[in-house]
Structure formats: structure tokens, C-alpha cells
Symmetry: C2
Subunit: 437 residues, 2 copies
Amino acid sequence: MTSDRSDTMGVRPMAEAARHAQRRFGAMEGRARTAALHRLAALLREREGDILAANAQDLAEAARDGLDEGLRQRLTLSPRKLHALIDGVLQLAADDDPVGRTLSTTELEPGLILSRVTSPLGVLLIVFESRPDAVIQIGSLALRTGNAVLLKGGREALHSNRILVGCLREALTDAGAPADAVAGIEGRAAVAELLGLDTLIDLVIPRGSGEMVRSIQAQTRIPVLGHAEGVCHLFLDREADPAMAAHVVVDAKCDYPAACNALETLLVHRDFLPRLPPIGAALRARGVALRADAESLPYLEGAGAIPALEPDDWGREFGDLTLAVRTVEDVHAAVAHIHAYGSGHTEAILTQNPEVGDLFLSAVDAASVFLNASTRFADGYRYGLGAEVGISTGRIHARGPVGAEGLLTTRWLLRGSGQAASDFGPGGRSFTHRAIR
Amino acid sequence: MTSDRSDTMGVRPMAEAARHAQRRFGAMEGRARTAALHRLAALLREREGDILAANAQDLAEAARDGLDEGLRQRLTLSPRKLHALIDGVLQLAADDDPVGRTLSTTELEPGLILSRVTSPLGVLLIVFESRPDAVIQIGSLALRTGNAVLLKGGREALHSNRILVGCLREALTDAGAPADAVAGIEGRAAVAELLGLDTLIDLVIPRGSGEMVRSIQAQTRIPVLGHAEGVCHLFLDREADPAMAAHVVVDAKCDYPAACNALETLLVHRDFLPRLPPIGAALRARGVALRADAESLPYLEGAGAIPALEPDDWGREFGDLTLAVRTVEDVHAAVAHIHAYGSGHTEAILTQNPEVGDLFLSAVDAASVFLNASTRFADGYRYGLGAEVGISTGRIHARGPVGAEGLLTTRWLLRGSGQAASDFGPGGRSFTHRAIR
């Protein structure tokens, strides 16, 4: 099978081949990467029948193995999902080449020009669960950005992943680019070995449960982009608008409770408590189970609230229709709670007081901080980034929803006319350091 | 001693105090950070006598302990060095506030505005050797960028470091900012413990030998900014200008041979070999010991070259006036050698052929890639970045010479008017995703 080489090739040679292929691929002109994306879209269209058949085989095995419904849903590639994937690939093909863009240019002296240009990050290792669409979403982003990508999917999506990785490799070959810039990985042992190759792999992107992310972080010295947890808070200030609060809180909790940007703990200003009952009622109507601290409990008993476990329910990622509620003294106490229990993902305040809003926006140390909007907006598509690689709660390199930009680094290019550093300095020439753009 | 708390306070509480202090300090208005920098400059001026006396005590102990001359030179704080440090602090105080700058603004729909703003990175751990000037250089950069910084210097600079850390802490207090945003660390055991605190420390910056950098990288999961090695190459293309070659090669090798951006291996196009002897003579005149491959050796015997050890001398960081020389077939072979043996620091080509130059600039995967200029230009000051935190050979976050920008991350701020994510999508409203700036 050409799409998977971890059986026929050792893991280190595969990563070395990816490094070599990436350097060639990343240095090619942008039109080669564009051609590979067009060819990929064409291949996915031509092979729709085979791809759906491979996926049906995975689904049949999943049914036989008794995989749960949610997992099987994520595993399913419908014609509609496939067409959306193809549209996404064509959108990337239509985008400007993100590689080799000049970010700044400085004249060090006339005839000595420094520029900073975008470059591919290098070799990416993606570890994901169930969703075979990730192969195309992340694989096509890697093609657009000139990166190499090693794709390790779950065993349950084996047949789907193989045929999709095969399409990516064939698209590269057809565009005159090295196929080894994409490779499929199979088997857990291969991943453990790859996580040790910190000179050959530049970034690991895990897409899956918090447990999986933590396990990968613990196993490797390679930078990991992503988040293990999304513990998001929303603070209802004393000057929050009650109608807005009901609308936004219901959305943040109920729109997709399993998402990392869903609300886990509602913080309520003491003075807002009397206006809490209708919000509790709206949440109850959507099936939310409330766990309230002693001070807010009387206002939420009508909504079926039970006492929260303190402090166990603070900072807890319920991931379902459970919501913790805690009363705080003021915005400072809300920020302190968030810093003590948050995961740095997305934090929001509702207030009609612009000063309190600005204070919250400047004080909260998190990837995304919102005023009068639902935490659910923290998402690459909603932010307008196009394809999303993941959401990072780390502070290094990329933070929050990450698009193509997160798969790029920079290089410094200096074009001179024979200058030596010792030509400059005391008694010699001076730098002009003139910004050109 | 207020400047050092690792004796009186556990290491984890100190890192926790730094995290808290940083959040307060980073959320203050820029003028508080500017005031702290002005106060720091004033304190350094007021205490010049005490600082020089503390440094003299370190130097006396270094002499008693028989520290080598180079180390003692780096340890010395002359009045001139101190005044240059003060000028640097005042320059930073005059700079615009880099925190809270808006990098982009997008309208998601009218009344729902997303912006991306610069933010401090968080808590930095700096591990450095001998040079007490690093306390002020890096400490003042941390102040400018709203970061907290834990400073671990060498035992040999104990008294100098203590008084300088004391000045930083006092400057913070006097500016109404929390002193715990700066702390001095003493003792190796404290460093090992700090390297384990990956939820409290966001970035480690080691400033010292390659061995020290590698040892830190091996001990921690916290991102490390820096480089363990600087193995820089210069390729003399067949169309290199011979006079330029002599000038640039001598500079790259001899200007400061111990620097990470000094030349280690000269790659020579086969067709250029006949023009090599005068370059060899110029290098010999500066005391360079040449180690040449079999093909270039006849052209360099007049310059006292001896045979290179192949492949041991390729990719070797001599760090002194030794230079390896290897003949290559063409620019592609030069690039292949660089990818096989380079450390991704700085690579250069000399050629009068613009196509070959462009090919080299686009193909070489390194932090800095130069055409017709000495590798020695790879430096934050020469690049016009102002103060330099270090030079990174990593691809993540910052690459090449790193200035204040490398100590910043971003946050996404969303200002709405009560929007829920479920208001958008099929049957609902649409995103405008209009770039505002």
C-alpha cells in the first residue's frame, strides 16, 4: 500500500524522508502547491465511490466492534461531507500563496537589505481520532503552507484514512512534488517512536480528547499545539443586561456542550442575583443541570439547582449540560476566579458598563476574552481564519484558534554586496536601520 | 536579602508569586512600565558605587578561585559598561509600549468586532553565566514587555546579580508595580525544580554554552528559546567575486571566532578552487588553521592547510580560529551539505549570479540566510531589533535574533452586543468577516 509506509519503512527513515521532501516542496514555487491542491480536489471527486466504500468498511467494522454512536457519527464520511471537504480544498487552492511573503524589510545600509519572510514550519505530526475528514482538512492546509505532514489516525478509520492519504500523496506526485511530504502512520508504537524524534519533527498537533493531548504532551519534547482542556467562564456583572444574559448564557452552555468553547462555570455578581431566576428558568427549559454555590442557590432553586461541590465543581470541564454557578463580589473577584480555575481558553463578561468591560478585557490572561458575546465564538471559522488547525491554549507560537498562519515560521534573508560586520562600528560605517516596509 | 528569595521562599511559591505579579503588571497601563524603567535607570546611576563594589567583590573571589581570564572579563562591570546599560534602559523607556498593540481587527458582523492584541508572554526563566549585564539587559526587556522574569545567574556573579536584581525589584515597587515580577534565583537545585514547573513558567531562555542549553532542553517540557549550536557555512559559488570572498570570509571567521554566528565550514564550488589561494593566504595572515578536503587541499597548502577529518570536521563548531573547507559540485550540493551538517543558525552564499543567489535564499532551511554578506550580521543589534534576548534556531514562536517581539504573545478580544453563536448559520445571520485593519 503506497499510502502507508510505517509497515514497510522504519519510523525514523519515514520522518527523514518527510524532512527531505518538505525542504524540496517548501522551496518550490507556490504554483506547484496550488497545482497539488487542484489535483487533490480532482482525485477526491474521481474516487468518491472508492472513498465512500472504504468508509463503509470502517463503519461496518465499527458496528461489529460495538463502537458508540457518537464515535460512529464522527467516523462517517457522507457524500455531503466529502463535497464540503472538496470545496475547502478548492478554497485553499484559490488563496494566495502564504509561503515567502515578506513581512518586513529594513535597509541596514544602502546595498544591505534585510527582509523577514514567511516559511513552512517543517514536519508536522498530526495525531487524531475517528474523523477521517481531518486527513484532508489538515493535509490540504499542510500542502498550502509547504509543510510535510505525518498523519496518525485512529484504528477505527483505517481504510478511510489510507485511501485519503493515498490521494494526498498522488496529488503531490502529479504536481511534480515529492510524495513523501505526506505519510500515513499506523500503530501506537509508531507514534511513541515519532514523539522521540525532536530533531526531525517540528510540531505535534493532537486532535482528540484532553486525555490524549495530555498523554502526548507528557511523552515528547517536541512543541505540542492544542489544548487539553476548555474550562470557559462567563461573568454576569451587576450591570449585565438580563435579556442578553439569558440569550448568551443559554447559547454558551447549550449550543454544543461537548465543545471546548462551551461554558462550564457561570460567575455572578452578587448584585445581579435577584435577576438570575429567569436565566435559571431558560437554562432549565434547555435541560441544564445547575450546581450553585450557597449564595446563588436560593435564586436558582426554582430551576432545580443543587448545591455545588466546592471547590471540586470550580474549574471542572463537564462537557455536558451541567453548569456550575458561583457568586462573586465584583469584577476583580471574577478575574481572580478565572485565573485560579480557568484553562486559558475563552473567558467572557456581560456588562453594559464600558469601564468594567475594558478592565476585564485587559486583565484576563486567556487566548480569547469576550465582552457581551458567547464563548462559542472562539473558533477558526467564526474568526474568519478559514481552515482551523486547532485551538491553542499555549502562549508560545500561536494562541487561540489557529489557521494556516500557525503552520508558518519566518526566515531572515539578507542581501548584501560584500559587507563584513567589521566594516561597521567605531571608526567604521554606521547602520541606517531604515524601515523600507 | 530582598533581591533573592530562593532561600527564604520555596521555588514553587516564588514562581506562583511571579505569575500573580505578572498578571497585575502586564494589565497595568504602559506608563507604569515606562515609569519603572526610568526609575531603574535612576537607581543604577545612584548606586553606581555600590554596584561596582559588589562586582569588585565577585572579581576578587574569581581571582582567588582561579577563574580563567575570559570568564573574568565577561564578569567585569566597568563604569563604561554600566553607563551603556543605563542608556539601553532609557532607550527602552523611550520606546512605544509594545503591550496591547492591535495587530488586526475584523468585523464578524456589525457590532461584533474581533481584534488581536499583543500581550506579555507570562513568566520567563533566564539562566545565564558570568555576565551580570544580562540581569539588566533582559530584566529591562521584561519590564518593557510586561513579563515576569526569574533570573538565575552564575555563582561567580552572585554579589553583582543580587544588587542588580534588587534595583529591578525596587524600580517596580517605586512605580506602583508588584516587585515579585522580578526575582533572583540562587543554586542549581532551584533551577532543576523550576524546570519542572511547566504550568507556571512559559519560556526558558538559557544564555551560555551549548552544553548548558542542551542540558536545560533535556530537563524540561517548557519551551526553550535559544540555540545549542551555531554551525554556520559560507558557500563560494563559481561566480563569487574573489576580492569580496577574501573580505567576507576573513570577517566571518576572524571577527569573533567564539560567536555563534562565526563561520565553521567554507564550501567551495569546484570551479572556484583556482581562485582560492589568495583567500587562504588572507586567512593564514589572520592566524586561521585550515582543514581542507582532498580536492581543495592543493590550493590551500601554501596557507598551511592540513587534511580535514571527514566527516568529523563537517558540522563541527570549532569556536576558535579553525576553519574546515570542503569542495562541492554546485549550489545544490552546497545546500545538501548545509542541511546535513548545519544547525539552522546562519548560512551564506557569495555569488554574482542572481539566479544562483535566489535559489540558495529560497532553498536553505535556516533562521538566517545571506547573499554576499558575512554570517556575523546575524545579531539583534545589527538587525535593528534593539535589545536582543537571544538567537533562536527553533522554528516555533521566534526564529533567528529575537528582540522584544519574542517576549510577546497575542490575545483575541471580541466586543459584541449580546450575540450568540446560534444566531448565525443556516436560516440565521451570516458573518461579514470584513477586515477593518
